[in-house]
Symmetry: C2
Subunit: 334 residues, 2 copies
DNA sequence: TTGTACGCGTTATCAA
DNA sequence: TTGATAACGCGTACAA
């Protein structure tokens, strides 16, 4: 391991001078600078990041806490994050959360993030205690697809999304609309699901449609559960003419169920997803498109800004989802 | 920031003793230990990882260099990686490669990886110079889905995969078999594609089927290109009765093309993918299943081992892909 | 068993 | 413009 001492010695200068050259400080005689640079080259000297961090209190890396980072939504957010990050020349440390234990773990102690200059939390609502600690300890932190009053949060308007989806179906003439929502996973506080439900209710009551509790169910955010719930709804005495889901992946399950049951989409049943994953496009699934990549980009952009000027106020930024109508939605047969 | 000095002072002991308690060294009087622990608790002391790294020369993190980490294959490998890593209590630093420039960048200078104790390279073939430097500088490095003689490499037998796929079609009675392979992306040396082609040739020549160069094409690893190439092959004067692709995602494009052209699968055309992504299962696509998650797990396992005992020999580990027959392959109509 | 002092590799301060 | 030296926070020989 060659150190700055070796460089200084070989160049015949003091350590201070060597450091100045390496960090492009002015006030070094060009000739001296040249000598040092040659020594650096000769010795293949690379400054130790660790030692630098020791002094500067900066690591040059940012952390991202994300649940189930293998899911399409999270992946796409990460893609946006990554783009901004690599442009800024910073490293990405990934903290994956697969269960409540890990969640607790990460939100229990800020000292876990010493190797990181800032924190982006995706799809996870940190407890207030954590949020406060971030402020106290001056750890720049931004929330994406989650909300906490103490931290700058970037959210998609899930009420709006639920409303848009429901509204489309109502406008098409549907009256009995089923809603297969996602569930709150452990203590993850996926309020997303609740907000979408609120949007659903708003649209329904605006249209003065009565609310049938049998038509509103929740299940895990996956295909199999979506299928199961669809089977349940579609075998009711009075089945719905349209089904809304909390995620595209659940909607795929619904489509599977219809295929098996010989129900034609959209003639006999309209299906509406949520998220706007690639698969939705592939299957022609109507859906609510979330600006996933944009969320990642904006979130990381914000974080980098906050790392420069740590004293910024917490702020709530709302992005709008957009309706994408494809081929799984139509008017009900009379 | 509270340091170990503060703890020592409050506990009324020397710094050495405080350190011993914190690191669970023996030879500390229980009573003294107790006093120190109380001080730690009281002051909410957390040792600085940076300072520790300074001494120990270890960071507790491992790096993963991966191209296009948002693709299903890479994601699934990462999932395996992540699992092993979190169990080992180590941090994951992600180095994403989206283009040749970044690839060059990462493979040009090991000093980029100072904040990491080991390196896992996924789907990327590092130049020999890089591999040698890893050994010289004692940077434990493992390759997954890539090969270099100087580094322990974990590969799936792509020849075998190409062979298995082709063989299935031949056994079903196909004679004119099209092959839509993936291309080498930039200088990424995706030899995977070549190996699969070799397997294809072997199966063909074993069966004494003649090789029609018009039926073997390459395109980007995506849906749209797959579709385009399928249209090309299927409008030949003598179109193939079966199409093999270099990846499932290309096969999806093929299926799109057949749907638009009114060609029935598998009655008029057999389609065979490669990879075994989730979507393949969903669409009933026959494919070659790669043990993606296992590759991630094994690779990271190996890496952790190598980080313990750095002197291990480079080794080539071959995993076998498996054939999964679903509903897109059948015998050709006579 | 305990405390002191040095080293890790760098940056920053200050006097020359 | 330059060089010596003090931090930075910790681990660890070594002495007590």
């Amino acid at each position: 391991m060659t150190t700055i001492r070796d460089v200084a010695r070989m160049a015949g200068v003091g350590i201070g001078t060597a450091s100045r050259v390496i960090n492009n400080h002015p006030s070094v005689r060009p000739e001296t600078r040249e000598r040092v640079m040659r020594a650096v080259e000769e010795l293949q000297f690379r400054p130790s990041q660790i030692a630098r961090s020791m002094i500067s209190k900066r690591t040059g890396a940012v952390g991202v806490i994300v649940p189930f980072f293998t899911r399409y939504f999270q992946i796409t957010v990460l893609q946006g994050v990554q783009e901004v990050l690599s442009q800024a020349g910073k490293e990405l440390v990934l903290y994956n959360v697969e269960n409540d234990g890990q969640r607790e773990h990460y939100f229990s102690d800020l000292s876990l993030f010493q190797r990181v200059d800032g924190l982006l939390v995706v799809s996870l609502t940190p407890p207030d205690a954590f949020a406060r600690r971030c402020r106290e300890k001056n750890m720049p932190t931004i929330l994406v697809d989650a909300y906490n009053p103490f931290l700058t949060s970037l959210v998609v308007d899930n009420m709006e999304g639920g409303y848009l989806a429901t509204r489309l179906l109502i406008d098409k003439g549907h009256q009995r609309i089923g809603f297969i929502n996602g569930i709150i996973e452990g203590n993850f506080k996926f309020n997303q699901a609740n907000d979408r439900l609120i949007g659903f209710h708003r649209a329904m009551s605006e249209a003065q449609l009565l609310f049938d509790p049998n038509l509103v169910v929740s299940c895990a955010w996956n295909r199999h559960e979506g299928k199961r719930m669809a089977q349940q709804l579609l075998t009711l005495p009075e089945p719905p003419t349209a089904i809304l889901t909390g995620s595209d992946i659940q909607a795929v399950g619904v489509l599977e169920a219809t295929r098996e049951m010989g129900i034609c989409v959209p003639e006999q049943l309209s299906v509406m997803g949520y998220d706007g994953i690639e698969l939705a496009e592939l299957l022609g699934l109507s859906t609510i498109q979330q600006p996933m990549q944009q969320m990642g980009e904006m979130g990381m952009q914000r974080l980098l800004e906050q790392m420069e000027q740590p004293q910024r106020e917490a702020e709530l930024i709302r992005l709008k989802p957009t309706l994408i109508e494809r081929t799984t939605t139509a008017s009900p047969v009379q």
